[in-house]
Each structure stands twice: as C-alpha cells, then as structure tokens.
Symmetry: C2
Subunit: 336 residues, 2 copies
Amino acid sequence: LSRFGGGYGVGIVSLTAGFDLGGTKLLGVVADGAGTVVASARTPTGRTPDSVFSDLAGLLDTLTGTAGPVDAVGFGVAGLVDRDGVVRRAPNLVGWDGLPARSRLEDLVGLPVVVDNDANVAAHAELRFGAARGCSDVVMVTLGTGIGGAVIAGGAVYRGAQGLAAEFGHITVDVEGAQCACGAFGHWEAIASGSALGRLGRQWAARGEAPAVVARAGGDPEAVTGVHVGDAAQAGEPDAVAILDVFAGAVAVGLGGLVDALDPEVIVIGGGLAELGDVLVGPVTQALDTYVVGAQSRPLPPVVVAVLGERAGAIGAASVAAEMPALRGPAPSGRA
Amino acid sequence: LSRFGGGYGVGIVSLTAGFDLGGTKLLGVVADGAGTVVASARTPTGRTPDSVFSDLAGLLDTLTGTAGPVDAVGFGVAGLVDRDGVVRRAPNLVGWDGLPARSRLEDLVGLPVVVDNDANVAAHAELRFGAARGCSDVVMVTLGTGIGGAVIAGGAVYRGAQGLAAEFGHITVDVEGAQCACGAFGHWEAIASGSALGRLGRQWAARGEAPAVVARAGGDPEAVTGVHVGDAAQAGEPDAVAILDVFAGAVAVGLGGLVDALDPEVIVIGGGLAELGDVLVGPVTQALDTYVVGAQSRPLPPVVVAVLGERAGAIGAASVAAEMPALRGPAPSGRA
C-alpha cells in the first residue's frame, strides 16, 4: 500500500495541518473535515525560507503531538503561487521568489503538500466553513497592509491559467493616481488598503481636520495609522467617521469593478480592516451602487465580513489539503 | 413523447438557430454542431421588441426553409440578461429593459429558447470554434461602440450569480476620468472603445497633429471617427500610428486589471476594432506589461483577435442553444 492508498478520505475522520505564512507570522493549525481546529500554534516569520521551513517542521511536531497524525499539509503563502506550488513573487517575504515551496515541503515533512496563495486558502475556509458557506460565485477581498483576494466560481476557488488570479490590489482604478507599494501608479491598493487608510488619516490630520484621531496617535499627526482611524471611527468620533466615509468610496471603486466583471452573489471582506465591521461595511455598501453599472436595475451583492478571523488562512490551508485529489481515495468503480 | 424527449442531441446531426440582436441589425444563422453555418440572414433592428420578434420569426421561417428544421433557438442580446432570460437593461435598444425575452420567444417559435448577453454567446462561439478553442480560462473583450466581454472559466462561459458578469466596459480605471456613455465617470469604455478612439482622433486633429487622419475625414477635424484613425494606421500613416499607440495604452489599462483578476491563458479581442489586427494587437501587447502586476516574473497571456467575425454572436447563440440541457437527452442510466 502506498501512503496515498485506500483508507484515506472516504468516511474516515481525518486530520490535516494548515499553515499560513505572512510577513510577520507563521500560523499553523490541525483541523478536521468540519474545519474544527484541534490544535494551533504560531511563531514569528523567519528571515529566510530555510528558517521558515525549519520553524514549520517544529510547529508540525508540536501540533501533531497534541492532535495526532495528519494526512497532509496545506501551506498558504503571501505571494503569487503557481499551480506547481512555486512561489513566483512574494514582495513581503525575503528570498521566496522562484522557490519551489511544494517540493521542498514534501521532502521536509514526508506528506502530500499543497501550496497556494494565502488569500485563496482563506477564501476556501470562508467558502467551506464561514461567510461564503453554500455560495457558488463569490468575490473575497482582504484589506490589510495591501489588498489580496480570491475568486470563487461555481463553488470552487478559481485560480486562473497559472494560478495567479485575484491579484485585486494591483488593478488600476485611477490611472494617474497615487503610487502603489509595487512601484506602479493608480492601483486600488494604493487608495483602499489599511496603509492607504493611514495615509488618508495623516492627510486629514495635517490639515487639522482629525483631532480625535490625532489624540489616539499620541498627539502626533504624522504618527496616525489606519488603526487609529478605525478605532476612532468605531468609537463614533465624527472626524474618523468622515475619513472612513471617504475611504469607503475608494474601497467601493474597486469592488464595483469586481461586481461588473464577476457578478458575485456575495462580497466577503477579510483582512485586518474586516475587524471594523459595520463601521466599514455600512459606508462601503452605500458607495457601491455608484460604481456598479446598472445598479438601479439589479440587486447588488451584500458586503459581509469574513468570520474566521486571523486563522482563516491556516484553516483554509488545512481544508485545501484535505480536498487534494491524492487524499480522495481510489475512484468509485465504474468511473475509474 | 414531449418535444424535448429522446432523439435529440445524442449522436444525431442536429441543427439549431442563433440570433444576435445589436443596436443596428438582427443577424440569424442556422448552424450544425461543428459551428458550420448552413444558412444565414439579417435585417435592420426593429424599433420595438414586437417588431424585432416578428422579424425574428420571419427570418427563422426563411432560414429553416433553406436549412431544414431546428431543435432550438439561441438569442444573444446587446444588454444585461439574467439567468431567466430576462433583459435587465439594454442601453442601445428601446423598450427592452425588463422584457422576459426567453418566455416571449418560446411562445413565439414553439421551441426551446436560450437567451444570453451578446458578448457571452460570441465568446461561446470563439471557445467552441474560434480563437479560444480548447482553452480553459479566457478573457474575451469586444471593442466596438462600447466595450463588452465575457469570462470563460474552467472551459465554460462564466455568467455570475445573476448572469450579469463581464460588464468590463464599466469598470472604473480612472476615477476622475472622462464621462462614459452610461453617465458615470472614469469607465474603461470611456477611454478604450471605438467611440473613444474617435474622440482621441478628434483631439489630435484639433491640435493639428493628425493630418493624414483628417484627410480621410474629408478635411474636417470634427468629422474624425475611430474608423478614420484605424484605416490610416493600417495604411502606416505616422500620425494615426501614434494615436493608436496612445489608445493601446488605454486598452491595456483595463486588460491589465483583468489579467490581475482572472489570469487568463489568452485574451481574445473581438468587436469592430478587432479588424485592425496587428496594428492594434501589437501596441496593446507591448503596453500590457505596464499594467499587470509581477509582469517581470510571469508569462503574460497572448492577445489575439477573434476569428469568427460579425457572425460570432449568432453562431454562438446557436451553439449555446445546441448545448442547453433540455437537448442533451435523458441522463445516462446509473447517474440519474
């Protein structure tokens, strides 16, 4: 019997591990087929791929020590990941461009491994267990330091020809607009990410129009971040609410284009800004109809926040691993 | 036996009719399962839905008189068409908003009918018989008076939750940019459609920078259209080539965003501007890498022109009709 042989997947409660690698931390879980987290652990992001792999192996030991053995490992990485599990480009990670992450990990852990973009695995978790459960066509957008996202089409994560789809942050929405972290101009991420919210807050602060926000930044207008604006808006401070209203328009510009292109049944907002909840979703929903063609003659998709929080990526990596073809067992007779 | 019963579809050479309704003409074909056109006919677009339906019935009589009986009818309409075959919004057609086109047509012709957006059916034709044959993930963009398009995902036309996907023309690419025909500002269509090419040509002409183009417009700078610019560019006139170079950048802005979002294996350009061929495709291809994130570290999808020409919509309407579930016969035993 090969290790991929009978016994896996069909009718047996099995566990998989999922890891989510971001710019600041590596988060791991062991989860069952219902998305229930049996064990979880985390460590700061190592400075080289070697140290990350070593950390991951250590976390996997710890996790399986608690939860028992796993059948497979999923790995979500903040970057462009192709269909072969090669990291093409990871702007927030050093040394990962071009790295064949899947084959490296399979050698390391001796288990089947699937590697995907962090937003894709988070979307898979929301699709199976969260805000998009039961949906067929979904746009998920993660608003954090940058903007990531995922497309769900026909009930499955849509990856594109090379596995590089859903790089929503770098869609041009303002062709002569602000410079993006990637160097280009006018990208959605440059006006609608958490970083952009902080920049907007500092602009208002510099003009003396954001007193409550500046107070939260220790009185220094230049120290204002998106978190200060968000906290103040949640507390109902009028200056912050007004900033968030402008920001919501910038979010809606990009979402509107995605609705024009993809006509989703729901838009799921994840990432750090999702924690703002209705304070963000309310004005975004209001602004959306300005940016969707024919908004008068069609229902617009609801905008909802992701529900699985910061572990969505790791849970989704585990659920993607659980669904990899190698674990599905032999094909039923008559269709082999 | 119901008229949908056994005998259809499986192993029998059957014919279907397809109609494509645009702002100026109604074009009909009868085609076989290989996309071969057995008969075709056309008439100018009637001024009311009633006159269009009456024209369509007349064309269908003519076509089937030549080609023999058909099993079903497909109908592509220039507008937003939902999954029930209701035309939600058709800005270039009078009286069609809200019209239940499928049920009206089924009553009229006594055959199964499928109704879809004109760009979706044209994309289906290119997928089955044309430039996208054998592809899985494709973006098709029709550049004409406006901009339409279609998404092919996993080898099928992706329609979205309500059937309203791929309204690419109204994606915001320049948030404070030119006004679109729809009234909103900064839409892709406002800078990259055939109408926009004409406007760009008139701007250059007014500045005295497009002598060869103006000559083609009878010497009147205000009479310049996109066709004059395109013809002059195909003739190699430097002023027109320079205009087309700028215009290609505007086309690439929107295409780049679609590549970021959808990572297609090929981009198919249809519509009137597709007739420009390499004169347009060359500079668009060159400009594309400016607007795709990570273009340095990934192959970009080739940009190709549609091959089925002005009959693509009607051929695709016929092929969509041929594939409608009602014509596929009973489910094979064991899977019913």
